[in-house]
Amino acid sequence: MQIQLSEADGTPYYQQVANQVKFLVASGRLEPHEQLPSVRGLAQQLTITPNTVARAYRELESEGVVISKRGAGVFISNGVSPLSNKEKRRILNERMDALLTESRQLGVDEETLLKLLRQRSQKFDSYKEGEK
């Protein structure tokens, strides 16, 4: 599992780890039932404290991305996210606001943005296919 942490970003490390695991799952690089590195292993790999990794895993578990099995380790869950619709919308709204700010600043209109989004989504899917 490849994770890159950025110091130039004030986002807490546990959040950076959680976000990147989510990205790896969404893009198919981590598959359902796949085991994640142990808390201690990932802490050493990334040179961050085990508490940070444990917190990232807890966060991912509460969002339904991973399941931790006592004594066995932490695994990617089956793909069904138990988040409520309201919560899902809240997370996406935040991202969309950032995207809209950026695109308006760049002078890209809504129509073009939607087209780009669709193209990107297709690319994402074909990448996922290619992995298999």
Partner: protein, 300 residues
């Protein structure tokens, strides 16, 4: 509840007329990496020397593993791996002699682990301490601090003046120490990106006082940076609730703020100011803003 490995209450220390520490209280829980930051002369080394029992509190109390380090130096120091700021190692010894010498003080010295570290740090047993480079000296000091597998590691500016390769060794050693059976690390540093990377908790010392002491995540989340645009150019940045530091001119300003977001947003609205962007500042940016804000308040 995990126990606190270090407990400091209302510690004050004066050297002549200089108040080195005033009313410092902090606790370091077991299994935690605690980063101590502050400018030169803020009192970091003095604080660490109290933890090691090299200085006796003039006021207040210091407990390490529940014991007074001044009353029981052997009991406390035997359980601490310590790297001092100036790496004062006996220069006339060879690396091998240095190991044997240090080993005599620590019943728990692990010769296999020491040898493993020696090979990893590429230190030759015959080499004399005088001939070691700065980086090698730091590695030798770190090895001595680690080889008796202490439950507590105290490092004073472990990576200052070192190249990135040795700094990485030191950070790895810190992480290995906590990963290894929940040991505890207290370290001071100027390099805030490193502190941000490896710490669970941090404290900022300023002129002998604790300015802030809290879990690192809370520090990062409670501070935010805003880019603000006013309808009219502003000659100075207005006083706003929670704003620590502002840079900019005319209509656009960047401010670093702490908490009280709703109040600040309301104040901005009243002044026809609009928030263009919000970012998460790094620990370094937060530290600078905090220090500047203190300076400003003292000057006023």
């Amino acid at each position: 509840m995990t126990e606190n490995v270090i407990e400091i209450e209302n510690l004050s220390r004066r050297f002549g007329t200089k108040q080195a520490l005033s009313d410092v209280s902090l606790s370091v829980p077991e299994g935690c990496v605690f980063g101590l930051v502050g400018e030169n002369g803020a009192g970091k080394t003095t604080l660490l020397r109290h933890v090691l029992g090299f200085l006796k509190p003039q006021q207040g109390m210091v407990r390490v593993f529940g014991t007074d380090p001044v009353a029981d130096p052997a009991g406390v120091l035997g359980r601490i791996g310590h790297l001092s700021e100036n790496r004062d190692l006996p220069t006339w010894m060879s690396i091998h002699e240095l190991f044997e010498f240090t080993r005599a003080f620590y019943p728990k010295w692990d010769p296999v682990y020491a040898e493993e570290l020696r090979i990893m740090f590429e230190l030759s047993p015959q080499q004399k301490v005088t001939t070691l480079s700065r980086g090698q000296l730091a590695r030798a000091g770190l090895l001595l601090a680690l080889a008796h597998r202490p439950p507590l590691l105290v490092l004073d500016e472990p990576s200052s003046g070192l190249d990135p390769v040795v700094r990485k060794d030191i950070l790895d050693a810190i992480i290995r120490t906590v990963v290894d059976e929940g040991r505890t690390v207290l370290f001071s540093s100027h390099l805030l990106d490193e502190v941000q990377r490896v710490s669970d908790r941090i404290a900022i010392l300023d002129q002998g006082r604790i300015l802030l002491s809290s879990p690192l995540d809370e520090v990062l989340v409670s501070h935010y940076q805003l880019t603000v645009r006013f309808q009219e150019p502003q000659p100075f940045f207005p006083q706003l609730t929670g704003a620590l530091l502002s840079t900019g001119s005319g209509r656009e300003w960047i401010i670093l703020c702490n908490g009280q977001k709703q109040t600040l947003e309301k104040e901005l609205q009243d002044m026809n100011g609009e928030i263009l962007e919000q970012n998460a500042p790094t620990l370094e940016e937060i530290f600078v803003a905090r220090m500047k804000s203190v300076e400003r308040n003292t000057a006023e």
